[in-house]
């Protein structure tokens, strides 16, 4: 570690950034793989099934007690799933628009990963110059909203490229849904930033770091609810999974996709869920700060504990995402539009107004 100190600041910054990008990417991809497992397990349990409980490498059965238990829990299932995705036949139907067909999965997957760049996942690892966020942007939230809205292009392109009815309908639904809910989502966070007074996500966390009672979920419960529901809609999760809706659109926009291209859509969806959870944790649930209040860490251990808190909160929200899937049936298309435009946008606007008035009268 000593030799790093002698490098000039720019080189240090670049090195640390590359390290952070690699770490975040690795953690996010593992998170995606294991949230698929959690999804399968939780849905199985809710439906009175045991869920995936067979796959294991050959040596696991020789580990006493823990080995069979891990197998039963399906810990090795994501590896098998990943391997299977790579080995499956990548079939391109003859009638698709090839360029868009190849481009769409990447465009669907990349934005959700890019959103992770501005989310602070920890305070520091001892050195205050090195914040545990890939890009400490002053306009962090604007960046993330800009990127999130790009996510719709992947789905629309997939629907268009497939050149068949069901994916096309899925693409249309997705674009309408995402545009509608993005407005409500954006408006709900305005109130948060009125209170914080800064668009930088690190300062949002700084504002909440006093402990559980300081979290913005208490001061902005309405904004939290709207943001959360809009996040469900943005990530195409049930009860808002109209672009996919297996029962009516045969899988929607990714009907014609197979192998790794399909897996990319899947990864994109789960990465978007992780990003949305991370964003909710940052904005409303105190980010990396512990519920008992915490200052930016000045030791390695403290920093790791903060990262642990962040990951735990994100994981808890992911379970909420997954659980909700089995709780509510899918919305009808007109109900979805009604909810977005006629309920959430007025509510979010009223919330901004009330918050603004309160801030104007109490702020000196």
């Amino acid at each position: 570690m000593d030799s790093i100190q002698y490098l000039d600041p720019t080189t240090q910054f670049v090195l640390f950034s590359i390290l952070k990008v690699m770490l975040v990417f690795a953690v996010a991809m593992t998170g995606v793989a294991y949230s698929v497992l959690v999804e399968r397990k939780v849905s199985a349990w809710i439906q009175d099934r045991p869920g995936p409980n067979r796959v294991a490498p050959f040596f696991v059965e020789f580990i006493p007690v823990i080995g069979p238990w891990l197998t039963r829990l399906g810990i090795f299932q994501p590896m098998a799933d990943g391997l299977k995705s790579f080995l499956k036949e990548d079939y391109t139907p003859s009638y698709v628009r090839k360029v868009y067909f190849w481009l769409a999965p990447a465009i669907a997957c990349v934005p959700s990963l890019m959103t992770l760049a501005v989310i602070p996942f920890g305070s520091t690892l001892g050195n205050p110059a090195n914040k545990m966020v890939i890009a400490d942007l002053n306009v962090g939230i604007l960046y993330s909203f800009g990127i999130v809205s790009l996510g719709v292009y992947g789905i629309v392109l997939a629907g268009y490229a497939a050149n068949s009815k069901y994916p096309f309908l899925g693409g249309i639904r997705s674009s309408a849904q995402m545009i509608s809910y993005e407005l409500a989502m954006g408006m709900s966070v305005v109130a948060v930033f009125l209170l914080v007074g800064d668009l930088n996500l690190s300062s949002v966390i700084q504002y909440q770091s006093g402990g559980l009672h300081q979290w913005l979920i208490w001061k902005q419960p309405l904004a939290f609810v709207i943001f959360m529901i809009a996040a469900f809609a943005e990530t195409n999760r049930l009860p808002f999974d109209l672009p996919e809706s297996e029962t009516e659109l045969v899988g929607g926009y990714h009907t014609e996709y197979s192998s790794m291209k399909f897996a990319l859509f899947f990864m994109g969806e789960y990465a978007a869920m992780i990003a949305a959870s991370g964003m909710m944790v940052t904005l409303f649930l105190g980010g990396w700060s512990s519920p008992f209040g915490s200052e930016p860490a000045n030791t390695m251990l403290g920093g790791l504990i903060h990262i642990g808190w962040f990951l735990a909160k994100v994981a808890a929200l992911m379970v909420v995402f997954i659980w909700t899937r089995w709780m509510l049936p899918r919305f009808r298309y007109d109900q979805l539009m009604d909810l977005g435009w006629r309920r959430f946008i007025p509510l979010a606007l009223a919330n901004i107004l009330v918050t603004a008035l309160i801030v104007a009268f109490t702020h000196k």
């Binding site: 349990w45 809710i46 439906q47 009175d48 709780m327 509510l328």
Partner: protein, 189 residues
């Protein structure tokens, strides 16, 4: 044709907030989650480890059975071969100089008896037609093999799988019937 307009009460404000639906969803899902996870009440039967109880009268794979002395019951009459709708049974009779039966009351037994389990439709005609009660549909339903040849079960395998069947002893009953005929007319009580 008259139409009946169903009277639907408008939803109350509370119902329109979706809260009752969400709370009901939480209740139902958490109940099932708890039952499966904590009480272990999953409905899945984990097949290779747990097997279902085969009911009596189930028509599984047909196997040859031995009598109570362990001798081959089949006398190679070939009735089952002729009745078999998918022609799954193939019997090679012993011929004039062939091996004689390994039990009394019978003249011969098959030199070879093959059932192609890939062809068998488990109809039970063989069991029905057999005059010697030598073939029975048993409870096996999961027949597996790595090749088509492996799925043709020969006499040795069929006898081994079939086991001993001492339940119905036709010749004993026939003997009793014959003895009853000897004392005909039946002595009046």
């Amino acid at each position: 044709m008259s139409t009946k307009v169903v009277d639907r009460a408008p939803l109350t404000f509370y119902e329109r907030t979706y809260l009752p639906a969400i709370l009901g969803g939480i209740k139902v899902t958490s109940k099932h989650l708890f039952n499966t996870l904590v009480k272990g009440k999953a409905v899945t039967m984990e097949y290779p480890e747990q097997k279902w109880v085969v009911p009596d009268g189930y028509r599984g794979a047909p196997y040859l059975v031995k009598d109570q002395e362990g001798a081959t019951k089949c006398v190679s009459c070939q009735l089952c071969e002729f009745v078999c709708p998918p022609k799954a049974i193939k019997i090679t009779p012993p011929g004039p100089e062939g091996q004689t039966a390994d039990r009394t009351n019978a003249e011969k037994m098959p030199k070879e008896f093959e059932i192609n389990m890939l062809r068998c439709i488990f109809c039970g005609f063989c069991q029905e037609v057999c005059p010697e009660e030598a073939i029975f549909l048993q409870k096996d339903y999961s027949l597996t093999g790595l090749s088509r040849e492996e799925m043709i079960y020969d006499k040795e395998k069929l006898l081994k799988l079939g086991g001993t069947h001492a339940g119905i002893q036709k010749w004993k009953h026939k003997l009793e019937e014959a003895q009853e005929q000897e004392t005909f007319p039946v002595a009046k009580p």
